[in-house]
Amino acid sequence: MSEPIEGHLVHGAIWTIKELYTYPNEYLYWTVHIVIYPFLTGLVAGAFVLSSLYHVFGKNELRPVSKFALVFSLALLIMAPTPLLFHLTKPWRALNTMLTPHFYSAISAFIFVYLTYMSIVVAEVWFVFRPFIVQQAREKTGYLGLLYKVLTLGSYDVSERALALDHKISKILAAVGIPAAALLHGYVGFIFGSVKTVPLWKTPLMPFIFLMSAVISGLAICIATYIAVMTFKKTYICLTTVRSMGKTLTLFLIIAFLLESLDIVFHAYTAEEFWAILSEIIFHRFSVNILVLQWGLGMIVPLVLLLIPNAGLIRSFVASCLVVFGVFMMRWDVVIGGQSMSRSLAGFMKFKMPILPTSIDAFREGLIVVIFLLVMPFVLLYVFNKVLPVFRDIFTEEECEIHTKEISRKEAHT
């Protein structure tokens, strides 16, 4: 290094506004990408749980969404680590985590947990769609036919016995996938929970809180996307399916709400030294974000919407969108809000997201990339839908009625 550069901007200084006393080196080093990364990972876990509800727990009324949820979770899973790549100042060194993993670090475990989970999801997708792939491989020619032929992996056996085996395997995979999802997302919560310096994060409940909010966000985004796509395609939507998903969503929403409030009540009651600054964050600086958007709009309003009986499509759609938004706000508040408190407990930092890509840093952590990351899963879903029949396996009106009757019979039976 030669001469010191005049007014050299340090990493983080573009988007950090300091107030009162913060340590001189203190900037918001974890920003939007660390918001999006657990958000996307959470969506994966939730979507996968939804598909498992059909595969493992035999909720037959969920058959129309099971494949969609599975493929969607794959699309999300592919995008999940990308925010991390954008976040790293040296993204091309990301492979170092595999070359010299340091297992005491929560992040180094990510790649392994991620790959395990990825292999489960990919395998399940393959088993679920295998009959279709085999059929296409036999019928289609040209590039598409070649693609399907590759996808069969050389296995053309679609006899009854083989299919039964497929079914069994996919059921096992779906069952194994649930603890794997819990591990994946619990571990994402642990990334935060293990940071002992941030008062808002350092609770052993963090993995559980993250897991529950992950499940609700994943369920909600599946409901919303499903309703939107079906309406767009002008296809018949079975209300029973939507309501069944809504019911599960409600259940997890209550747990998530209780857990999050429990943690805040706990901090308020024990009132340790950091509570002064934490309450300032919750009730002043982030009050709109946390109390209005995350809790009010993101949890209480959808909870009320879902708890009122006979939810229709529009109500379910609105509630789901709100839940997804609420979970996004929760990630935002945890990551940005948590770091807004100076470690000196005597100052604050404000985050100002760079909109225009005025520099490389501003581009990497800026709005454009954020939008790209949030849109990509849907693009991937679109692509997958071109290859695999994601939305084809839906209920006709008669089937829907059968399932509705079955459910009401189950209730009446007791």
């Binding site: 603890p179 052993p204 409940l205 209730e411």
Partner: protein, 405 residues
């Protein structure tokens, strides 16, 4: 009405079986032993126990914590019974609520025994430090839960005695109240501990969900055993379906419990702050003091084994293994949540002193007495309820008389 009460009392105390009297006598003997020890403690002071300033809460509070869990577990029957209308469980929910009643009574007894001046307990009602003190909250929620369960049981029995179907209109409020209330007795009891900044071992918000999860393991497991005994000794029919359903639910709650336990352990050991000392004491011993280490590992091993047994449908539906798993999970949770939670809160103490507390004979005798009281209460309640439940005992109302004619 008077006749009916007389009948009920007769049902409770008179039996054709000799074993019944033997059982009652055994319980009374245990209660007597406990009472003698308690009299000694009452007159001499708590110095007869092994408790000292360094570890001011011990075996009594550990048992209290475990029993709060057992009480709350009635909700595991209430939810499938009334919310999901699962018929086999609906038939036995009554007996589950009775377990809750006995457990709460035992809890209250244990707290009273633990007090230095139990006679003055009425001060809590006179100048309650509410809402600051969690102990006041605990008194409120425990008594409230007792009342809810007494109300539910007596209403159902009353209706049965009149040979009528109970109305859901009356049950709904009770059920809707009892579910959050069961959760709340746990949350409040957890806050009793985790609201204390002075005890880093307890001072984590995860204690509350862990309490709930472990309660939902041990309570139903205890009920499973009680139900099996009950259907052996009486004519009451408790179906296998109900038992297996409860066992399945236990499998889920155990998964939760272990997940939370793992999260807490991992977080504690990972952060490795000065607050890790109690955890170290539990798992590895601290400065040569390791009297809880074997218990901790045993509890962990028991919980894991029981989880596997509950998880595999084959072993879950096989009574010998099921019962073994029930006992394992009860012992496991009893250790984990009783001594594994209360003792290390005080070890090392606030000034770093290590006082390796273990209960002495007096404490154990008194506690056994309390358990015997609970068992006696349950036996009597059960014995009274059975004939009403089976239709042998009916209240003589004009309407019924007419039917009989």
């Amino acid at each position: 009405m008077f006749d009916f009460i007389k009948d009920m009392l007769r049902q409770a105390f008179i039996s054709k079986k000799k074993e019944y009297y033997l059982w009652l006598g055994f319980l009374v003997f245990l209660i007597g032993l406990g009472a003698i020890s308690y009299f000694k403690q009452y007159t001499t002071g708590l110095i007869v126990t092994n408790l000292r300033d360094q570890v001011s809460w011990g075996f009594y509070i550990a048992n209290f914590t475990f029993l709060v869990g057992v009480a709350a577990a009635a909700v595991m029957l209430v939810i499938p019974a009334y919310i999901y209308h699962f018929k086999p469980i609906k038939e036995i929910v009554l007996f589950g609520e009775m377990v809750a009643i006995s457990a709460i009574v035992m809890c209250i007894m244990l707290v009273m025994i633990d007090m230095g001046k139990p006679l003055y307990a009425w001060h809590i009602m006179w100048t309650p430090n509410w809402p600051q003190s969690m102990l006041v909250w605990d008194v409120i929620v425990l008594n409230g839960y007792l009342m809810i369960n007494v109300a539910a049981v007596s209403y159902v029995l009353y209706k049965l005695a009149h040979n009528e179907e109970y109305s859901m209109k009356v049950m709904w409020p009770i059920v809707l109240l009892s579910i959050p209330w069961a959760i709340s007795i746990h949350t409040v009891t957890a806050f009793l501990y985790n609201g204390l900044v002075s005890r880093p071992f307890w001072n984590a918000s995860i204690i509350a969900p862990r309490f709930i999860a472990s309660a939902l393991c041990s309570g139903p497991a205890l009920m499973l055993l009680i139900f099996q005994i009950a259907r052996k000794v009486s004519r009451v029919d408790i179906s296998d379906v109900a038992i297996f359903k409860i066992a399945e639910l236990v499998a889920y709650t155990m998964a939760f419990n272990l997940y939370l336990y793992a999260a807490e352990l991992f977080k504690e050991f990972y952060s490795a702050s000065l607050h890790m000392a109690p955890m170290e004491y539990l798992f590895y011993g601290l400065h040569g003091h390791d009297n809880l280490v074997p218990f901790t590992w045993m509890a962990l091993f028991f919980n894991l084994t029981a989880f596997i047994v509950f998880l595999i449908p084959k072993t879950r539906r096989h009574f010998p293994t099921l019962n073994l798993a029930c006992i394992l999970v009860i012992v496991g949770v009893y250790i984990e949540k009783g001594m594994g939670l209360i003792f290390p809160g005080f070890i090392p103490g606030s000034l770093g002193e290590i006082y390796p507390y273990m209960p002495n004979a007096e404490e154990i005798k008194i506690t056994i007495g309390v358990w015997a009281c609970g068992a006696l209460l349950y036996t009597l309640m059960f014995k009274t309820a059975i004939p009403i439940y089976l239709g042998d005992l009916r209240m003589k109302t004009p309407k019924l008389e007419q039917i009989r004619k």
